[in-house]
């Protein structure tokens, strides 16, 4: 600041200097060190990522012979994987199950959260604490009993659940609910009450308030909870590996099965492996970067302050 005062002639340059000075104040590390750390961390992340891209554009033989930089670029791997991995069907299954989970869990979460935030009832705090606790129950603990329960549905009720996408959907929906609801609870707590009260005075019912006021105001929260439910379904291997048959395999399981099969083969098809991995990552990466603003905000909102 004192620099500004000392150089009244350079008034035009005032703004930039002040901004630099402000930067200097909040800077936490000397510049060279800052650059070194940033470069190292980026290299840590990007080296494998770069390799995946290059390998997926290489030929299977090229990758198997240990090339980092392909001797010839081709998109062959990207056209082969639809057959060899059965990726189209698997990605379709994943999209259906995860998409349905996302939509239904977000709808259920907002209803539940509305009641939890705006109404008093006995056991409310227990429910809230339960929502947090249930998120950390290990999937491996639930897998066997849920499997037995779903099989029993086949034995006793005559409904086939195991092997269908329904079984996966119900499981994912239930496991997504605690977190989705919690996200909505934190979001709805931040909404002002006045609008709802005004609507109530105008004679709106609870459902009317939910649909006309709460939901239109809550899109950021709904998006966050839907995306996390989607990711839960998309990223799961544990339940999908036990609850699906080859024709209901999700992308995660198809990739895993392909990987195990590949290593038994004479020529490892690593290039296809990398291409398939990338394709499986694409929907998730796109979702993230489209909604990055909401997601990072939703993650850290209230989290730790």
């Amino acid at each position: 600041m004192s620099i500004d005062a000392a150089n009244p002639i350079e008034k035009q340059a005032k703004q930039p200097i002040r901004r630099d000075a402000a930067l200097e104040v909040t800077r936490l590390m000397p510049r060279p060190l800052l650059i070194v750390v940033t470069v190292l961390l980026c290299a840590l992340v990007l080296t494998p990522i770069l390799y995946i891209f290059l390998a997926s554009l290489n030929t299977d033989v090229g990758v198997a012979s240990g090339e980092f930089w392909p001797s010839s670029f081709s998109l062959d791997s990207y056209s082969k994987i639809w057959d060899s991995v059965g990726l189209a069907k698997a990605i379709g299954n994943s999209l259906i199950v995860s998409g349905a989970t996302a939509v239904v869990s977000a709808l259920m979460a907002i209803g539940t959260a509305y009641v939890l935030v705006r109404f008093e009832f006995r056991g409310r705090l227990t429910v809230l604490r339960g929502l947090l606790g249930l998120q950390s129950i290990p999937g491996t603990l639930m897998l066997l009993p849920v499997f037995v329960l779903f099989s029993s549905a086949g034995t006793y009720l005559g409904v086939t659940v195991i092997g269908t996408l329904w079984g996966l959907f119900i499981a994912y929906l239930t496991f997504a609910l605690p977190f989705s609801t919690w996200v909505m609870v934190t979001y709805l707590r931040g909404l002002p009450r006045e609008l709802e009260e005004a609507a109530r005075i105008d004679g709106a019912s609870n459902l009317g308030i939910l649909f006309r006021i709460i939901i239109p105001l809550s899109w950021p929260g709904i998006i966050v909870s839907a995306i996390f439910a989607f990711l839960l379904g998309w990223n799961d291997v544990l339940f999908a590996s036990v609850f699906t048959r080859p024709d209901t395999h999700t992308a995660a399981v198809a990739l895993q099965v392909f990987a195990s099969a590949v290593e038994g083969g004479a020529i490892p098809v690593y290039s296809q492996m990398m291409a398939a991995s990338l394709v499986c990552a694409v929907p998730v990466v796109v979702l993230y970067f489209m909604f990055q603003k909401y997601l990072v905000g939703g993650l850290t909102a209230g989290g730790v302050k």
């Binding site: 009832f121 491996t140 009993p145 730790v304």
Partner: protein, 328 residues
Amino acid sequence: MASSVTEPRPSDSSPAAGAAAGPGGPTPSVTRRKGLSEKNRPLWLLIPGGFLMTIVILIPLAMGIWMSVIDLDQYSLRRWVSAEFIGIQNYIEAATSSDLLRSIWLSVSFAVISTLVTIPLGVAAAVVTQNAYRGRALVRSIFLIPYVLPSFVVASVWRTMLQPDGIVNVTLTNMGMDGGLWLNGPNAYWTLVWVEIWAAWPFIYLLALSGLQAVDHEVHEASALDGALWWNKLRYVIFPYLKGPVSLAFLLATLNHINNFTLPYVLFGAPAPSDVNVLPILVYVTSFQSFRFGLSAAMAVVSLILIAIPLFIYLRAVKLDVHDGGKK
């Protein structure tokens, strides 16, 4: 299931904490609202979620505990209701003649090592992206990549790169080093730790970043006026702000590492090499490959108890947050 959702649970310090604390904030509107809500509470909205959670979480949880005390294998599975009650024999077998204790040790040490390495990485990343500069948005997006990629993709990719004839060994050989086996034998444990660290450090970064953003500008100015050296400023001014977020991150990250099934399963397959036979893999293999369902249920219950310790601390911390959260 929680293992695949690896994000911070917002523990909330929201404006409506007054509402959360219920009786704590009696204003006229509260009494009126209460009178209204007593008559007309749409509690039925809780039914669908409550129903699902009862059927798919609570009942199976009870079944899981029951299964751990009965003799259940592939023959008795179909008639599991009438399987023979054998008390704590499954637990005795798990403790004495299975890999359980070793797996617990592997899981806990793996989780703690991974967390201890990711914390400095995540905090460093948060510190270097604290100040705006040209290209910062790009750097932040790059930092998020490992977090965004699905675990099964990360594991498949590393599995391919770490094959005996994979790119890692080729590079090491070119540099005159001997790579050896990464996916089998004693190295496998460190492979698991390495890949977990690669995938998990951005989680710490996100939490640390939100902690840094809580530091007021005045604090920076004050320490600049005092002429604090950067290291002292970090150590004595900034890090205290991060103590809360980082402790929370430590707990959650350790829980996530212990619960992580996908990464070891996709990296090493099942049954896993004995050096990476972590708890989730052991429980999975015991039920779905050895078909010792009762034994597996007992192991699962033991792992739940293990998880419950950090989880309990976490839930208490969150509860405190809700009550202190009136500050907005």
